[in-house]
């Protein structure tokens, strides 16, 4: 009986671990009071869990943008009230938080999130409630029938990141490639982009391994990679998965004599990896703070962010900053705070230059068209936040498909993913 009792205890313990990893046991409340002549903007970010560092920057940059607008008198004379919630990067939590923001807090607009799948659900919610939603994350929202007139997307579409990095890799490094792909929809989208670009540029796809999220030991996958002898490895993963994958590639000596391309990487990942993220590791980002050396707008944004928060912003923060600004610019352009439809129409084809070169929000699907930056690690030479150098900035128009193609998910729908 003692044995059965212990097993029961372990079962309970495992259930609790599962609950922790599912993020069901934490929540952050937030309150805000409504005032007269105000508009209310609510955002959601993963403030707990593995991606909290990215969520925190989204939140900070949003706060900064709101403060800037309020400092110049708000939008059309309305002070902006900003409230935010922790969505824990969980779909069910995010839906609860969105309902809180729109139905209880009476937010006029909402935005945020770091997960493409959550953004799809948020977009659907925006359509139902006719409340404009600005997505901060890589999302397939603009593809197919998922989008409605109340949604806009401000991070690059997943396939666009692949096209940018793949164009650079096939042009500058070699043709034979092997991929390590996180086994969920986002990873699959990135792989589709790589396979398509590979076909266009005569690449030779040697194989792919799908790796479950949260994998800590990648060495068991590298034997397959070594046997294939590629010119470069493609990492379609992010966060702790990417950290472990590159650490262990470095351990095997792969980063000394082979290039590694991370379709999407993050500043904090490079920091965590230290010397392992060397000059042979090249990662894609929608924004890297060294763009401040190229664009005055980037300099203004980055310097202010560093002064306020002590570290340069992640690309997710920059995305939040731009999304928030464009929302308020659209309100000003529309000349109304209440006609939501008119505001979303005003957002279409809006042209601006904020943190990078000239950009616009595409009229046909309200997708921000922006460049994608490739950075090369500095390895042991990294110091403080001087972690990587920009090696290329791929123009936005060259990595996004037409609205007509996007609506039919072309050409990627024709790509057959490997088993």
């Amino acid at each position: 009986m003692q044995h059965v009792k212990r097993l029961g205890q372990i079962g309970l313990a495992m259930l609790l671990v599962g609950l922790i990893s599912a993020g069901l046991l934490t929540a952050l409340p937030a309150t805000a009071s409504a005032q007269q002549k105000t508009i209310k903007y609510g955002t959601m970010h993963p403030l707990t869990g593995a991606y909290a560092v990215l969520g925190r920057d989204q939140m900070r940059a949003t706060e900064m943008a709101v403060e800037e607008w309020n400092a110049k008198g708000g939008v059309l004379g309305h002070k902006i009230i900003w409230v935010h919630r922790d969505d824990e990067l969980k779909g069910n939590v995010a839906i609860r938080r969105a309902k809180e923001l729109v139905e209880e807090e009476k937010c006029d607009f909402f935005g945020g999130t770091l997960s493409g799948s959550i953004s799809l659900a948020m977009n659907e919610f925006a359509c139902k409630t006719k409340t404009p939603y600005v997505a901060y994350c890589m999302s397939d929202m603009v593809l197919g029938s998922d989008q409605c007139e109340y949604g806009a997307a401000f991070m690059v579409v997943p396939y666009a990141a692949s096209l940018a990095v793949a164009q650079y890799a096939f042009k500058n490094v070699g043709k034979k490639w092997f991929a390590i792909t996180a086994d969920y929809r986002w990873g699959h989208s990135l792989l589709e982009g790589w396979l398509w670009q590979s076909q266009q540029m005569g690449g030779q796809f040697l194989g792919n391994v799908y790796v479950p999220l949260g994998t800590t030991d990648f060495s068991t996958y590298y034997a397959k990679v070594l046997a294939a002898k590629p010119d470069f490895i493609v990492m379609n993963n992010l966060g702790a998965d990417q950290t472990a994958a590159i650490k262990q590639a470095s351990e095997l000596g792969l980063t000394k004599n082979m290039k590694i391309f991370c379709t999407k990487t993050a500043q904090h990942t490079i920091k965590e990896l230290g010397s392992a993220y060397n000059e042979n590791v090249i990662g894609g980002m929608s924004f890297y703070y060294k763009l401040r050396d190229k664009y005055p707008g980037a300099k203004k944004f980055v310097d202010k962010f560093i002064k306020k928060y002590g570290a340069p912003p992640e690309q997710d923060g920059e995305c939040g900053y731009v999304a928030t600004n464009i929302l308020f610019m659209a309100i000003e352009k529309a000349g109304t705070v209440s006609d939501k439809k008119k505001i979303m129409e005003a957002m279409q084809d809006i042209k601006y230059q904020l943190t990078k070169g000239p950009e616009y929000v595409r009229g046909c699907d309200r997708q921000r068209v922006q460049s994608y930056v490739l950075v090369k690690g500095k390895g042991a030479k990294a110091k403080g936040w001087d972690l990587a150098d920009i090696v290329a900035e791929i123009p936005g128009d060259s990595i996004i498909m037409s609205c007509a193609d996007n609506a039919k998910k072309l050409p990627f729908i024709n790509i057959k993913l490997p088993k």
């Binding site: 044995h3 372990i10 996958y221 351990e251 000596g253 904090h268």
Partner: protein
């Protein structure tokens, strides 16, 4: 497609054993705590995470990887003893769920404390340059650090075995896991043995975390998966059995490695399948003793 040569299989076996060694260290500690205290240590992975941060701090201070590893075990072991003395001891003899809930609380609170102290971004832990090379045997490439993990684990386990089998304290610990009441009637302060045993268990968890840190960086949330793995290995090997922890750890390491090779997407879930299969065939685990109190 390419054919799979035998050298790749050999490498896969090697990686599986190296991975299994980390699991062995992790679950040995959990087994000792189980056997001695009847406590389901929900914070076991959290102590492993503390080991990873301890090795990061100690390497930064001393510049020595070995000093870092040893210090991680000692520091976290002492932290474990303090936790046992202050928080767990008052709960002995009461509802067995109370220690579980306490350690669950620790598994939530300690990572948050680490986030406050060290920030949200993980810390890179580097192993010495001497271990950064690879050993090439024909067409088989073996990373030096994985070889170190295997050898180091072997030394650690032999030392642990000698300590438990040959030393007076080790024999008292073993006797206490069998019948603590009898040990107490012999005039031995079992309470201190429990404190030491808990420290030893979490010290082993810290060693697992410290040795794994260079492979993945030290992050506040790394303990959640490690706790889960420790549970699985401990159940597979048999509750409270040190031999079971060793065999279970290596077995799970190999299962994960070969599943990653043939069907990568199922590598994480393969350990749970393995546990379910073993429990179906042998409910007390591979080395669990039937009816042991």
């Amino acid at each position: 497609m390419f054919e799979i040569p035998w050298n790749v299989i050999a490498m896969q076996f090697f990686f599986g054993i190296a991975l299994g060694c980390i699991f062995v260290l992790l679950s040995s500690g959990m087994s000792i705590i189980f056997g001695l205290l009847d406590v389901v240590n929900f914070a076991h992975g959290t102590f492993a995470m503390l080991g990873a941060y301890a090795v990061f701090v100690m390497i930064s201070l001393s510049g020595s990887f070995v000093v870092g590893l040893v210090s991680a075990v000692v520091i976290v072991g002492i932290v474990g003893m303090i936790v046992e003395f202050l928080f767990l001891k008052p709960l002995y003899g009461k509802d067995p769920l109370l220690p579980l809930l306490l350690t669950f609380g620790l598994s939530v609170a300690i990572p948050d404390l680490i986030k406050i102290i060290f920030g949200l971004i993980g810390k890179p832990v580097n192993y010495p340059e001497a271990l950064s090379g690879t050993l090439v045997l024909g067409s088989i490439i073996l990373p030096g650090y994985r070889l170190f993990i295997i050898l180091f684990t072997l030394v650690a386990l032999i030392s642990l075995w000698l300590f438990l089998k040959r030393s007076d304290l080790g024999m008292i610990i073993r006797a206490s896991t069998r019948d603590s009441l009898m040990v107490q009637t012999l005039g031995i302060n079992v309470s201190r043995i429990w404190t030491f045993g808990f420290g030893l268990g979490v010290g082993l968890a810290a060693l697992a975390g410290a040795i794994a840190a260079p492979m993945m960086s030290a992050t506040p949330d790394m303990g959640v998966d490690m706790t889960m793995t420790a549970f699985v290995v401990t159940v597979v090997g048999g509750l409270g059995s040190l031999g079971g922890a060793i065999v279970g750890g290596l077995l799970i390491g190999l299962v994960v490695a070969f599943t990653a090779f043939v069907a990568g997407e199922y590598s994480s879930v393969s350990m749970y399948f393995c546990m379910a299969l073993i429990l179906l065939v042998r409910p007390r685990g591979l080395f669990g003793e039937q009816g042991r109190e």
